[in-house]
Amino acid sequence: MCDERERLIGYVYDECDPDERQVIADHVASCETCQQEISGLRRVREDLLAWDVPEYESVWRPFVPPRAASWRDLPVWALAAAAVLLLLAGGAGGAVTYAMLPHRPVLTAAAAPRPAAVVPASDVVHSADLEALEARLTEKFQNEVDERVKLVAAHASAPAIEPASDVATSPEDLRRQVQALRVTLDRVSKAQDQLSKSVYADLMSFGETQRRIEQGNNYILTSLVRHAPADGSAGR
């Protein structure tokens, strides 16, 4: 043992089989050198515990699953910039159109101040309305998908044959069972096909809804441009 000190490592880490452990324990009990060796190894292991590592804060930037791009992904500054561009484009367009139109004589005396354009309250679309509409449509879409999935799953799981006879006792039985299995497989295949089409249609419809919401948003921006006060005080 004193010549094979590596064996003490298994003993110190308590990672040797019971027989080996007993042999080493018996030896160590009567060998002062090995006793010192073992206590020295245990002491150095205690010293190793003192080795600290610095405080660690995660440096990992979690992976984010990809999703379809949407105007909602744009930062606020980009939306604001788009709105400003629209305003400028509208103003420039208006100025050019005005410059190209034949000008009527200016009526000064009779020109009473024209009332500002009044937009019927029902025509004004608020973003809150659009959000509520989106929530309603999303919920409806989700419910419809759930219903269809349930329907198709129930349809597909309906047994085609009675599992009365597990084992075919004749070629006739076997043929009948194979035929019934074919029918079941065919049904499952059709059900899967139906489910795929239905989900695809729903996705298309969801896309259409998103498109309409975006149209609504454009409508808000256009309304802002159209009804902006002529003195340029919009947004103050």
Binding site: E6, L48, W51, V59, W60, P65
Partner: protein, 203 residues
């Protein structure tokens, strides 16, 4: 419900990124500790953590589950550390922890009951261990790191380092014996220095 590493690996391999994020959250601290104790510099250790997980993600399909996921990560980390040392063309640094301010020290106590003197002694020992470890041959240092700080079995270390089990035991024994001698010598030197200081101040 807590998923096992194997379950998370299977899901991540199938494309579930969130499962991989969970694996990172579970293992980034041990990986950082291993890299720090190998390289000796926190900044480099953090870079290695990032690189190790990126490499693990890219190699996920090649991970066949023959070893534990953690062992596989440790191997990636040690390989990266080895590359880093070669690239930098210098030995791993031994960087003593900064700050000896009494207030800083008080904040770093392991337990409220630990006195400032005990903390100073622990930090001195931490530096001494770090220095002594940095001087060990790489294979002994790796065996000690994986055994002492990451609790791998002899067999796991042997599989990871690609050597027989008996070699792992030999490396551990030799490494610990060298550390023991160095630490005892350092402690003896410090004790004699303290004694000399005390004698000169009292005379």
């Amino acid at each position: 419900m807590t998923r096992t590493d194997e379950e998370l690996v299977a899901r991540a391999t199938a494309g579930d990124l969130e499962s991989f994020n969970q694996l990172v959250a579970r293992w980034e601290r041990p990986i950082h500790a291993l890299a720090y104790r190998t390289l000796g510099r926190d900044e480099d250790a953090r870079d290695v953590v990032q690189e190790a997980f990126l490499r693990a993600y890219r190699g996920l399909r090649g991970f066949k589950g023959e070893a534990k996921f953690s062992s596989w990560l440790y191997r990636i980390t040690l390989n990266l550390c080895r590359d880093w040392v070669r690239r930098e063309r210098r030995a791993a640094l031994v960087q003593p922890p900064e700050g000896t301010d009494a207030v800083d020290l008080a904040d770093e106590r392991a337990a409220p009951t630990e006195s400032v003197e005990e903390l100073v002694a622990r930090r001195e020992m931490s530096k001494a261990v770090s220095r002594a470890m940095a001087e060990l041959p790489e294979e002994q240092r790796h065996a000690i790191l994986l055994k002492e700080y990451h609790g791998l079995t002899f067999q796991e270390i042997a599989d990871m380092l690609g050597c027989p089990l008996s070699t792992v035991k030999t490396r551990l024994y030799q490494g610990l014996s060298v550390l023991r001698r160095r630490l005892e010598r350092q402690q003896a030197e410090e004790a004699s220095l303290r004694r000399a200081t005390w004698e000169s101040s009292s005379s």
